[in-house]
């Protein structure tokens, strides 16, 4: 509850346990769990400080001068270390804390103009820190604070929009405002390839799935008055299916207004599949399409063209299965075997804004503004 500055915590296993943290006049801007689940980190208003509340010992620690940026706190995958971006005297710093006792391990400055975000590699040994979009600069630090490498692709134009580490920490994908994704390798930290996102897909080896509307088939004999719920929902919702389009395909391309800040262009979303084989990207200039690249061949594999703008997508944590939502009431699933569009069986509108996979890969939570529903995926029986 950000406005009141209060955080409430309940336990799933012991329903009697309840905790309430009140920040009071300090205000609350963001709150998150620590990876061991025993501490809560609250960021106060105006990013004055980060308070670490311990749920077991009721002790409090403070982290001063946190940076007000998009990704200021990053935890390693094994939950051992936490990196916090700080800014003192107009200079950016990164502090690395040990999560078990919140001890400061390393504190070093970064050579950035205005640090925008930090992210750990999945192996927990490398920290990527990148600059604001006015400067294309990404710095790679080792766990002990040494600068391993710097990468700059170009000057003056708008720079990095989003980054993603591959699950094996082998690759670092950088999406930038010039509609390209550059991939660095972990041995030399140099670019091995760049992926372009043109408005026309011309290569004959890529498959383009286009979502088309399918008129609902309603048997007129079964129509009854008043109409049943299922019938009503099927009448008013349009079914859709995927068609394979022939290359060359030209996608809907928008040019954003040039005099506004944070233009809707460039690669806004990047995600690697858990088996390291695929990379899914979204070019904000072509908002209806999801591009899936084959990392083993470093080529474009599939393009999914939707009817509405893609809101978010996420890979299944266990297998190369991608779930996409576009703000309509359908969730779309893609895997190398094919893709399918699934209608959420609810009466009324259920506009899916975001989704989240369960860590076992068996179910997906679909969230709309006020509701959420859980979609279970049947597992194929092994005979």
């Amino acid at each position: 509850m950000y406005k009141r500055g209060v955080v409430q915590v309940w336990s799933l296993e012991q329903p009697d346990w309840h905790c309430k943290i009140d920040e009071g006049s300090a205000g609350l801007v963001a709150s998150c769990w620590s990876p061991d689940g025993r501490h809560i980190l609250n960021t106060t208003e105006f990013h004055l400080r980060i308070t670490v509340w311990s749920l077991c010992t009721k002790s409090v620690s403070y982290i001063k001068y946190p940076k007000a940026c998009q990704q200021g706190i990053a935890f390693t995958k094994d939950g051992r270390y936490m990196a916090v971006a700080e800014r003192r005297d107009c200079k950016d710093f990164v502090s690395i804390f040990v999560c078990s006792d919140w001890q400061l391990l390393r504190h070093f400055d970064t050579e950035t103009q205005d640090l925008f975000g930090i992210e750990w590699a999945p192996n927990g040994c490398v920290l990527a820190a990148w600059d604001t979009c006015l400067e294309y600069k990404i710095l790679l630090y080792s766990l002990d604070g040494r600068l391993l490498s710097t990468y700059r692709a170009y000057e003056w134009s708008l720079g990095i929009k989003s980054i993603a580490w591959s699950p094996s920490s082998q690759f670092l994908a950088i999406g930038s405002y010039d509609e390209k994704v550059r991939i660095l390798n972990h041995v030399t930290w140099k670019k091995i390839t760049e992926f372009e996102h043109p408005a026309t897909v011309a290569s004959s080896k890529t498959i383009v799935y286009k979502e088309v509307e399918k008129s609902p088939s309603v048997e007129t004999e079964r129509l009854s008055f008043p109409p049943t719920r299922a019938l009503a929902s099927s009448l008013f919702s349009t079914q859709s299916k995927y068609d394979v389009s022939q290359v060359p395909v030209s996608l809907q391309h928008i040019k954003p207004v040039a005099d506004r800040a944070n233009p809707k262009m460039g690669i806004g979303m990047l995600a690697f599949s858990p088996d390291n084989c695929f990379l899914a990207t979204k070019n904000d200039n072509i908002p209806n399409a999801v591009w899936i690249w084959d990392i083993q061949k470093l080529k474009l594999f599939v393009v999914l063209e939707q009817l509405c703008a893609v809101q978010s997508f996420q890979w299944d944590p266990r297998q190369p299965r991608l779930a996409v939502c576009t703000g309509s009431s359908k969730v779309y699933l893609w895997s190398p075997a094919g893709c399918v569009s699934v209608q959420v069986p609810m009466e009324g509108d259920f506009q899916i804004v975001s989704l989240a996979w369960h860590c076992s890969g068996d179910s997906v939570a679909l969230l709309s503004k006020d509701n959420f529903c859980v979609c279970y995926l049947e597992r194929e029986e092994v005979k």
């Binding site: 012991q14 905790c19 943290i21 009140d22 990013h47 509340w53 766990l143």
Partner: protein, 559 residues
């Protein structure tokens, strides 16, 4: 051209005009036309008569004769007068002179013709040359004009080029200027940003101070129903030891990551080296053996022997475990050398093939074709023989099968097979029925056990409640105490019995899984009961048994 020789004839008194006229006419007329010249003698015969009459009349015979004589002698002809007598004419010499004059005339005419011909030719040549000259002059004019035009164009293009260069330079300068402007603006913005940030920091500090002052009253964390940690430990204090430990751990993490990466790289390296070794061996095999020309042998020989030595050495040393520079270089160099040799070899073969294709070696082709044909014939024969053998064998087999041709024996044989199968099926049926019976029994026992356990649990709960009540009511009487002590132990005993039962049933083959959810419940309830009776030991076997059951059920299903 106009070289006219007008021979001035010595003018005689009276007929001079005529003669002069005539001779001049005679001279003028030939150049006009050939035919006129040719025709001239003919009409001249007539005019000759008139001419003779004009030149020599009866009065001036002597004069004309002497004139003629003079002329002839000057021309080199012998005199027409006879030698001794002054006035007598020598007819023979006159005739000779006439003949000579005629011949001369003919010659002159021919010469004239020739000259005229030449003249005509020269004239036409002149015309031709004049035409050529005129044409060339025109062409020259044209080309001069073209040159002028091209020069103009060249100048225009050069000026355009210069303009474009200038524009390019201007654009570059502008770009440079804009970049400078951008960078200066960026620095200005940065400076302004820093200033604003400092102000902002000051505000934050002030706010922080205010907030910290108010901290004690409002900011708090309330935990309701605090659950103590199982082992009662508190959070650890921060000391130098912990710092050192953290550093150690961090370095361990880093080192383990590097070691992992190094291992991966070593494995990759080893594989690549193996591949290279294999490639090397195969290339050596592919290379031509040492049967060829001595020239090639001298080239290949030492190299191959070197290679063999190399192979021997390297294999001895177990190459892929060494990773020093020299060994690596040796390997790559040797592979490069052999690859080059292989390439040369392939190129030579290609050349040979192309030469063969272009004709020349017909005999070889014929021979090879014949060989091919012979071989194909042999193969065909073999195939036929094999086919015949197969046919005969099939026939024999069929005969064997059919030879106990009596109906009885065949029926018996068929019956045998059927009997065997039937017996097998019956056995399986029996087994299946037995198993089914066993499953039913176990299911029944499980349900009974479940019911019993439920009942006992209820009873236990009731007793417990009663016991607690009694305890509260009467605190002193020992007699009642001893009674109450026995009852819970009795129930504990029954609980143990149930545990044993659960264990035994879980160890048998799991019919409960196959017969569905009904038997699943007793397993689950038994688990719940065991947990409630809080014997930690029983938790584990029950927990283990369940996965065992799953595994065994999978095995059964696959069978």
């Amino acid at each position: 051209m106009g070289d006219w020789k007008t021979i001035t004839v010595p003018v005689l008194s009276s007929d001079s005009k005529n003669i002069f006229h005539y001779t001049s006419e005679k001279k003028i007329s030939p150049p006009s036309m050939n035919s006129q010249v040719l025709r001239l003698p003919l009409p001249s015969s007539k005019s000759m008569h008139s001419f003779f009459s004009a030149f020599c009349t009866e009065e001036n015979i002597e004069q004309s004769i002497s004139y003629l004589n003079r002329e002839l002698t000057t021309l080199g002809f012998p005199s027409i007068y006879a030698e001794s007598k002054g006035q007598e004419l020598n007819l023979i010499s006159i005739i000779n002179c006439m003949n000579e004059l005629l011949v001369l005339q003919h010659k002159n005419l021919r010469a004239q013709e020739e000259v005229e011909m030449q003249h005509l030719k020269l004239g036409s040549d002149m015309d031709h040359l004049q035409n050529c000259y005129a044409k060339l002059k025109e062409q020259l004019e044209l080309s001069k004009r073209e040159i002028v035009g091209l020069q103009e164009r060249d100048r225009q293009l050069q000026s355009k080029n210069r303009n474009l260069h200038q524009l390019l330079k201007n654009e570059k300068d502008e770009v440079q200027k804009l970049q400078n402007i951008i960078s200066s603006r960026a620095t200005q913005y940065n400076h302004d940003m820093k200033r604003k940030e400092r102000e902002y920091n000051k505000l934050k500090e002030r706010l922080h101070q205010l907030v910290m002052n108010k901290k004690d009253k409002k900011i708090a964390m309330e935990v309701l129903n605090y659950v103590g940690r199982a082992d009662g430990k508190r959070g650890a204090w921060r000391t130098d030891k912990t710092e050192a430990r953290n550093e150690e751990e961090m370095y361990k993490v880093l080192l383990s990551d590097y070691e992992q990466r190094q291992k991966q790289l070593l494995v990759e390296n080893a594989e690549l080296k193996k591949v290279l070794q294999q490639m090397k061996k195969e290339i050596i095999l592919l290379l031509p053996p040492q049967k060829q020309k001595p020239k090639e042998r001298s080239e290949d020989g030492p190299v191959l022997s070197d290679l063999e030595e190399d192979i021997g050495e390297l294999n001895k040393e177990n190459m892929w475990e060494l990773s020093c520079e020299t060994v690596r270089e040796q390997l790559t160099n040797s592979i490069r050398k052999q690859w080059r040799m292989l390439k040369n070899h392939v190129e030579k073969l290609d050349n040979q093939v192309s030469r063969v294709h272009s004709g020349a070696l017909n005999e070889k082709d014929v021979i090879s074709r014949e060989d091919h044909e012979l071989e194909t014939e042999k193969l065909e024969l073999e195939i036929q023989q094999c086919k015949e053998m197969i046919k005969t064998q099939q026939q024999l087999l069929q005969q064997q099968l059919m030879s106990p041709c009596d109906d009885d024996t065949t029926l018996l044989l068929q019956d045998c097979y059927l009997l065997e199968e039937r017996e097998r099926l019956q056995e399986e049926w029996r087994l299946f029925r037995e198993q089914k019976k066993n499953f039913e029994k176990e299911r029944r026992s499980f349900t009974e056990a479940a019911i019993r356990l439920g009942l006992e649990r209820k009873a236990f709960e009731e007793d417990r409640g009663a016991w607690l009540k009694q305890q509260f009511l009467s605190m002193s009487t020992d007699y009642k105490h001893s009674e109450n002590v026995t009852t819970p132990s009795a129930f504990l005993g029954s609980c143990d019995q149930d545990n044993q039962l659960v264990k035994s049933t879980s160890q048998r083959k799991p019919p409960c899984m196959l017969s569905g959810p009904v038997s699943g419940e007793p397993c689950q309830t038994s688990q719940y009961i065991t947990r409630n009776s809080s014997s930690a030991a029983s938790k584990k076997p029950a927990g283990d048994s369940k996965p065992n059951q799953w595994v065994e059920s999978d095995k059964e299903e696959t069978e």
